[in-house]
Symmetry: C2
Subunit: 187 residues, 2 copies
DNA sequence: GGCAATGTGTACCGATCTGTAAACTTTTGC
DNA sequence: GCAAAAGTTTACAGATCGGTACACATTGCC
């Protein structure tokens, strides 16, 4: 089984885009950082945009897999998993390579709502929300959608705040808030 | 009192940066959009980065002035103002030019924590947090800092979510969550 | 062995990037 | 009224942008 060059290209491009941003990363830099020749890149992807979309798709798959499986490791009840999501986020924030959410940044650099990159970022957020709506329903919430939206608001807020205010404890504060909301909703 | 060209340049550059992003906005585009010649721009600002910093400073001043004064219009008690912040955000989200938070986007495009632009964005967030800590204290919270952090998490989450999930009601959901947290903290 | 797929290096295209030079025009203060 | 300040146009420098052309090397498979 040979290591597919295409996958390697996407995997490493993802790292560079995450570290340096999309507009700030030129194709020449990717040639150096990925070790894949430009000719080869353009055989796999017709444009830089297509490469970005592939990188975002990989990120989406990896993030959801890691995030959800970590949550399930940390708790085994739906309500517990809703809360455990903040512990999983906290672990992420503590990684020294943490640079915020790739999809928030993608949406920030490609702002037109019809832009494929923006739409892909929005879809990622939508899938996450749906997952937590499902968890909220299983937890027995009176209004699962409402509760899940609030949980997601706290998650997004923590993700953003963890970038700017390292002195705070966004994951801890968000978890405490989520616990109050959860108790209120399940009461 | 002649309209200062420099201020006009910063004001219009701010709009373009907000609409199109920082890396995606070249100086030549700014020449066209602001009507100020490039030579004149570089007389006022030695680099593009300095212009961005000036634009962010203007944004910081305007945002805080508008946000805080709107909050005080909507409520006259500290607790009421904490909640009213979400109504003010909701009004902002409904503007058709809404494109998310300028400082989140600045931090996303300039990610190194030592970068002047990143630091300026972080400072803006810090000032906002301090303001809400003050409000929480005046509202009689047991732990003003903790409550304010949670309020801010909800605000940031709503700001981000309003970009991606227009179908939801981030401001309303966040306000409802804030009310629960406030009642718990003041009980 | 041989062929096709997949990869490579290098050189290049036109456009755009930030930033500068020089000569000229308008506005402003006194 | 006049000089300094502030603004303008035009042109350009050097680098980098996304993307392509072409000739050559490596690999997997039968």
């Amino acid at each position: 089984m040979r290591p597919n060059k295409r996958d390697e290209l996407v995997r490493k491009s993802l790292q560079v885009f995450y570290r340096d941003g999309f507009h700030a990363t030129g194709m020449d830099k990717l040639v150096v950082e990925t070790g894949v020749s430009k000719t080869s890149m353009y055989k796999h992807f017709r444009t830089k945009e297509e490469l970005i979309l592939a990188a975002l798709q990989l990120r989406d798959e990896n993030f959801r897999k890691d995030f959800f499986s970590r949550i399930e490791e940390l708790a085994d009840t739906p309500a517990g998993q809703l809360l455990a999501s903040f512990d999983a986020l906290g672990e992420w924030f503590d990684e020294k390579e943490y640079r915020g959410c790739m999809f928030i940044k993608a949406g920030a650099e490609y702002q037109e709502i019809d832009h494929p990159i923006h739409k892909q970022a929005a879809e990622h957020k939508r899938i996450l929300l749906d997952h937590f709506i499902d968890l909220a329903r299983k937890a027995g919430a009176q209004d699962p959608e409402h509760l899940a939206c609030q949980i997601v608001l706290l998650q997004e807020g923590a993700i953003v705040t963890a970038v700017f205010l390292k002195s705070c404890d966004p994951a801890g504060d968000a978890k405490a808030a989520a616990r109050v909301l959860l108790d209120t909703e399940l009461a």
